[in-house]
């Protein structure tokens, strides 16, 4: 009667297994592009790729958590742009020092996230609609903050995106990696993480178990806003300026990265580490196709096919 194998803790094994497929796909892409192009497989290309992705990575991490609770955040690209515009406004027009301006930029992201969460959770409006509205609001606000022009900030923000001397990676990459690790621990090891997965699985059952899910759901949207704020700084530093046109369509890349990593759009299932691999796959594909000389229209067709293929593969593995 007593169930067998109860004493063994097998979580670690299961976690590792779920990454094998993603690492395989990533490896395959690197091999294919290395064979097709002479200069793809070089330290320089690889560090370029890694230094390109921190903004998408942190936004996709936020998106993953939102998707896990069964929501969606379409406003991420616009909020990112607004955060970067705020940085420009504060530093150039108001002459604020970088630290203070950065805090304001991040705060703007959090405010938008909290607003998204409050409207959708407390007023019961689907997050798709709320964040679609916020996508417009934040983009418009970004244009207003910059007079619809790209504002050059200069050296004072570049340090975030410039590789450090000792290792060929930038502070932004280190921050992004730290966020991935901490979010992963939060999701897999903490009470909050367990609640998020349970909420996305069956919010009714969570409620009837005596848990009020609403504060947790608002927190997830706030976190997504925080990630947009941080990503706004990263992007401003890479461009050395505040661009109100930045990150148009970013929400779709973030969703694509999460979905390639196996996160379910229905909620209840997802992994932050897998999402990071999703981001890497997209980045390698983009850079690889460019280095092979594929033109933009074809790049888009191929990227789209890879997204669908990844989800098909995931569904097939799950049904097996």
């Amino acid at each position: 009667m007593k169930p067998s194998g109860l004493g063994r803790i097998s979580l670690v094994n299961r976690d590792l297994k779920q990454y094998v497929g993603l690492v395989g796909v990533l490896g395959l892409l690197v091999v294919v592009f290395s064979l097709l192009s002479d200069h793809f497989f070089s330290a320089r290309t690889l560090t370029t790729i890694v230094n390109q992705i921190p903004d998408l990575t942190v936004v996709a991490v936020g998106m993953t958590l939102v998707l896990i609770i069964g929501g969606i955040d379409l406003s991420v690209g616009s909020v990112l742009a607004l955060s970067s515009a705020t940085l420009g406004l504060a530093m150039i027009d108001w002459g604020w020092p970088f630290g203070l301006a950065a805090m304001l930029a991040i705060a703007v992201g959090v405010v938008f996230g909290v607003t998204n969460g409050t409207l959708s959770v407390w007023f019961g409006i689907p997050s798709f609609i709320v964040t679609l509205g916020m996508l417009e609001v934040a983009r418009g606000a970004a244009y207003l903050a910059t007079d619809s022009q790209t504002r050059y900030i200069g050296k004072s923000v570049e340090f975030i995106g410039v590789p450090l001397g000792v290792v060929p990676i930038s502070p932004a990459v280190i921050v992004a990696f730290g966020i991935v690790l901490m979010s992963h621990l939060m999701l897999t090891r903490t009470v909050m993480g367990r609640y998020l997965i349970a909420i996305g699985t069956n919010d009714n059952a969570v409620r009837m178990s005596g848990i009020d899910s609403r504060p947790y759901r608002v927190m997830v949207f706030a976190f997504s806003g925080l990630m947009c704020g941080i990503a706004g700084l990263m992007q401003a530093s890479r461009l050395s300026s505040a661009d109100p046109n930045a990150a148009v369509g970013f929400e779709l890349s973030a969703i694509a990265a999460a979905v390639i990593g196996g996160t379910s759009l229905m909620g209840g299932r997802g992994s932050v580490i897998s999402t990071m691999f999703g981001v890497l796959i997209i980045a390698v594909l983009q850079t690889g196709l460019a280095s092979v000389g594929v033109e933009e229209p074809f790049k888009r067709v191929i990227t789209g096919c890879v997204i669908i293929g990844a989800v098909l593969l995931d569904a097939w593995r799950r049904n097996k």
């Binding site: 169930p3 109860l6 004493g7 979580l11 903490t190 367990r194 699985t201 069956n202 409620r207 009020d212």
Partner: protein, 526 residues
């Protein structure tokens, strides 16, 4: 005896799933007759009517309609033969208009386009048959009240070729005036030669409307009689089957559970002061039409069963106590705390109340998640240090509990949706065992569960009661309550009408109480 003028003859019809739910039932329906079908929960009324309406096939037996063999393969088949059913669940499509709903699968059309004018004419005629000829036919049905929606369903049935009309609790959602209007229409149809099978708990309606009645009990035919010649008390006696006596507990812990009096407290509160023996006190709780001014008291160590007909408000009462639906007035008092009303289950759980819901898949379990997550979800803080869950603690505790409730599984990592219904229910129980509430509310805890699991679950409930917990068990299965409860409260039409102690258990009294609120306001009894 075969009469020449029988519209419908049902001969030795049976239906078996895992068990026999209908056992060789025969009855006949005359032309131009309203025939009541009555019986307690699970007597087989709905099963029989669903077989006649072609919704489910019979396992064995024959039917004849107007002297010809009648064996409908599906609902459409039955409708073509002239047998229509109006079910309890409303089947209207909310976003469509009244007219579109009435003729949904037979919309008049020309060249592929709906013929609006013709549809309107037909719909107007149909609505006139239920006395609603003046209603605007372009209204969307979702904007209408339940009563009107019910009448639309009836109009839809009547607008077809209708020789036999089956009505399953048609007045459950109607006001008295609407019901009277409906009865008038049904009497008119009777003079036009339409035969009707009328299912209802409301014995006063049956007396007002019906010619004959057939009683079913536990899936078996009891008798057919003329309504005018059958006193209400006799109807109730036939439904309950007087002969049954309450059974004693069959398991070892029985000595704890056969109190001689209503107050079972003293023998249990051996671990605590004896003044603190109230686990739950509910005072004048109201919530909608199905929880009306309910008061009762549950002692520590008591197992209180709540019975009543389907739709009498048993589940709604539990949900209102637990804060799953917010009560409008009244109070809930846990142990000696001050009275309050819970507005979210979180408050109830923190106060020491747990609810095992009726539909474990809908709101009891996190189906695709492992057993472990399901067991610990309500008690995670117990394993947490600064928010981090101790994996080892969670594992060993869950393994212990899963062993204790004897849930069969490969490992506690197994997703719950791979388990059988009985084992899923054990997982739900394990969740609340871990939380260790003082009051446990159980809504149909053993429905659809095999005998072994049932025994195990009742064993656990008995243990909890012996440890001084108060337990409320709602069940449609009265036998289950008679066997396992210290006392039984009866709900009827949203009111708690009676409470019986173990030494007073009597099937016919309980049955009479169950029906009581359904005929008090109605016509005078014979």
């Amino acid at each position: 005896m075969r009469l020449g003028n029988n519209r419908l003859e049902v001969t030795r019809v049976s239906k078996a799933y895992a068990t026999k739910v209908l056992d060789e039932v025969s009855f006949d329906l005359a032309a131009g007759e309203i025939h009541a079908l009555i019986g307690a929960n699970g007597a087989g009324k709905s099963t029989l009517s669903r077989i006649i309406a072609g919704l489910i096939p019979a396992t064995s037996g024959q039917m004849e309609l107007d002297g010809k063999v009648y064996a409908p393969k599906n609902k459409a088949d039955a409708e073509r033969a002239g047998v229509q059913i109006v079910q309890q669940e409303l089947n209207l499509i909310g976003s469509l208009t009244i007219a579109e709903n009435l003729f949904f699968n037979r919309l008049p059309h020309r060249f592929g386009f709906i013929d609006r004018r013709r549809l309107h004419e037909l719909a107007k005629q149909a609505m006139q048959t239920v006395g609603l000829g003046e209603i605007s036919l372009d209204m969307q049905t979702e904007s209408l009240g339940v009563g009107v929606r019910q009448l639309i369903e009836i109009a839809s049935a009547l607008s077809r070729d209708c020789r036999v009309l089956i009505l399953d609790e048609p007045t459950a959602a109607l006001t008295n005036q609407e019901a009277d209007l409906l009865f008038e229409r049904l009497r008119q149809m009777r003079t036009n030669g339409i035969s009707m099978i009328y299912i209802s708990h409301r014995l006063d309606e049956i007396r007002k409307l019906c010619d004959r009645l057939t009683v079913l009990r536990d899936g078996k035919f009891v008798c057919t009689a003329k309504v005018a010649e059958t006193p209400t008390a006799q109807m109730i006696a036939m439904m309950s089957g007087d002969s049954k006596k309450p059974r004693a507990d069959t398991e070892p812990a029985a000595d704890l559970n056969t109190p001689a009096t209503f107050v079972p407290s003293r023998r249990i509160s051996n671990d605590n002061d004896n003044d603190n023996d109230v686990a739950l006190r509910v005072s004048k709780l109201c919530r909608g039409p199905l929880v009306r001014d309910v008061s009762f008291e549950l002692k520590r160590g008591q197992r209180l069963g709540i019975t009543g007909l389907n739709g009498s408000g048993r589940s709604e009462l539990l949900r209102a106590i637990f804060g799953a639906d917010q009560a409008e007035s009244g109070e809930v008092q846990i142990a000696n705390s001050t009275g309050r009303r819970f507005s979210h289950p979180q408050q109830a759980v923190r106060a020491g109340v747990a609810l095992v819901t009726e539909d474990r898949k809908l709101d009891g379990l996190l189906l695709p998640l492992p057993i472990m997550s399901n067991v610990t979800i309500a008690s995670l803080s117990r394993f947490a240090t600064i928010g981090f869950i101790s994996r080892l603690g969670e594992h060993t505790t869950t393994a212990d509990l899963v062993g204790k409730v004897a849930a069969k599984c490969d490992s506690i990592e197994q997703p719950v949706d791979q388990l059988s219904g009985g084992n899923q229910q054990k997982v739900v129980l394990a969740k609340w065992l871990l939380r260790d509430p003082d009051v446990l509310l159980l809504d149909e805890p053993t429905r659809g569960i095999d005998v072994d699991a049932r025994q195990r679950i009742h064993g656990l409930i008995r243990e909890l009661a012996a440890r001084g917990k108060g337990v409320v068990i709602v069940s449609s299965d009265l036998d289950e309550l008679l066997e396992h409860c210290d006392s039984i409260a009866v709900m009827s039409a949203g009111k708690m009408v009676a409470t019986f102690n173990r030494d007073q258990f009597s099937l016919s009294d309980i049955m009479a109480a169950s029906f009581s609120q359904y005929h008090v306001q109605g016509a005078p009894q014979s």
